[in-house]
Amino acid sequence: MRLVLLFAFLNSLHLTAQRILFSAEIEDSTIEILDESNVVSKLMFYVSDLQLETKDGDVLKMAPYYLIDFSNSSSLLLEAINPNKKEVKAIQFKLGIDSITNVSGAFGGALDPTKGMYWSWQSGYINFKMEGKTVNENYILHLGGYASPFSAVQKVVLPVGDSIKDILVILPLQEILKEILSKHTMVMSPSLEAVSISEKIASSFYTR
């Protein structure tokens, strides 16, 4: 079974402006999914310092912060800033918000604390939020933390195969769900646990 969550439309014929599309998948499940719509009821994460590396060695910087929210399909599609239509060989970003931003006070836009990605009882952005229900358990992952040793922000570097088409960045949820089922169903504060799950999630992104 291959399930692409809240699929946003990808127009592969659109060649003039390269775009980046985030997507999440659950593949060939060993988890018994009782109700597909509830396995993942919420999936939001921050993508910051997004850059495209071109084949001639240029680095194209995009907006500093994006909030990817799978309940809002338009947030999954990012227009690349590539005015000279250079060929892209890699995409890199941080999953989450860095320490400096975390200690620099209130910001607007994607970082506005009304977005539901900021803790109130303790300062800090929630880098990654995923909620839902597996076989018989609700799970809540609110992963964040900016101060050592609980800094949860992760760097992601991915190769881009076809440099002309839109870049599809995929987060396979299968591994994460397995991990959640086996160990952690409730993670909602900065901790070593949050850091290790964040590492796992960051390393599972791939491009197509």
Partner: protein, 343 residues
């Protein structure tokens, strides 16, 4: 040529007026250190300060519109809460900690007794959403005030646009709180050579300098670091302090060092408000069991004070009361809020 010169002068005057405006809105005493707050991200503006003051005194911030920031942070108590040892929230809920004083906030990086909040801008989020305090959510408060023309006008005046965002709401609250500068106590006037200490106050100052200053650093009278106060854990409150944030055992039972300014207005004392008199605090720190704990800790020596010395020390501590700050009409409930209810 003359045109260029005129343009240049205009720019100079503009920049100068910007600096002057900051000086008027934020009169930093010459002997205070550089503020920690980054004003570049939130430049002070008289209309934004006004808006922040409205929000600070408006109970609309709480779920049932009964509790405002000022409920636990009264200007007449140096923005602490005198009647209660622990903070008092909606539906008569009682919190876990003693509401701290609010002044000289621009010189502080970490807030709350355990430092859970890392920036003044975000401080308000915690009481706003705590079920034992205001029991609200930022989004719902914004929804409520979005419907009020009073706030529509106030936000427009402060930010030149109608958008009411979380960022603006929090920054306006910061603006008002940044203007709460306490720097006109007798101590300050002595420092500026406008007044002199009495002989007793001088003796007290010497005792202070020998025993207290390592944590209560002048002129703010706090290091704003986290230290053990050697109070035994209150099993009912089970408050372990800083360790709850850092999860580092060495921070167990450490609490943020409070400023000693305005002590006469801000009792009860300590993180759980267990002492109502300064004498009790001094008796605690000179208790033999606490002296033994001081001996065990690094860089701290025990405090030994005779009865007379305690009296002298308190005489000095009372010179840190800043009546002008506590009774400043600019810090009080803004009457404009009353016009809001008539809408």
């Amino acid at each position: 040529m003359a045109k260029n010169l005129l343009a240049f002068l205009a720019v100079v005057i503009f920049l100068f007026s910007f600096r002057e405006a900051r000086k008027v809105l934020f009169p930093k005493p010459s002997y205070f250190p550089k503020p920690e707050y980054n004003f570049k991200n939130n430049p002070l503006d008289s209309n934004a300060i006004k808006l922040g003051r409205y929000l600070f005194f408006d109970p609309v911030l709480s779920k049932d519109s009964t509790i405002s920031c000022a409920s636990c942070h009264s200007p007449f108590n140096a923005f602490a809460h005198t009647d209660h040892s622990l903070s008092h929230g909606i539906n008569d809920t009682i919190g876990r900690r003693n509401a701290p004083t609010l002044f000289n906030l621009a010189w502080q990086n970490l807030f709350m007794w355990d430092g859970a909040i890392n920036h003044l801008d975000f401080q308000a989020l915690a009481p706003l959403s705590s079920p034992a305090e205001m029991g609200e959510s930022l989004n719902h408060v914004l929804q409520k005030i979005n419907k009020q023309t009073f706030y529509e006008k106030a936000f427009k005046a402060a930010f030149d646009s109608n958008e009411i965002s979380g960022e603006r709401f929090l920054k306006a609250l910061s603006q008002f709180q940044l203007t709460l500068i306490s720097a006109n106590s007798k101590y300050d006037r002595v420092r500026l050579e406008k007044e002199q200490f009495t002989e007793q106050e001088k003796r007290g100052y010497l005792l202070f300098s020998q025993n207290c200053v390592s944590c209560h650093i002048e002129p703010l009278f706090s290091s704003y670091e986290f230290e053990s106060n050697f109070l035994p854990l209150n099993a009912f409150l089970n408050d372990n302090g800083r360790v709850e944030v850092t999860l580092n055992e060495k921070d167990s039972m450490k609490f943020k060092v409070p400023s000693l300014r305005n002590l006469s207005f801000s009792f009860p004392y300590m993180h759980d408000g267990r002492f109502t008199k300064l004498n009790e605090v001094l008796n605690h720190y000179t208790d033999s069991t606490v002296q033994a704990q001081f001996l065990k800790s690094i860089n701290k020596s025990p405090i030994y004070l005779s009865g007379d010395e305690k009296v002298d020390l308190i005489a000095f501590l009372l010179t840190l009361n800043d009546k002008e700050f506590v009774f400043n009409p600019k810090h009080r409930f803004p009457k404009e809020l009353l016009t809001k209810t008539k809408e």
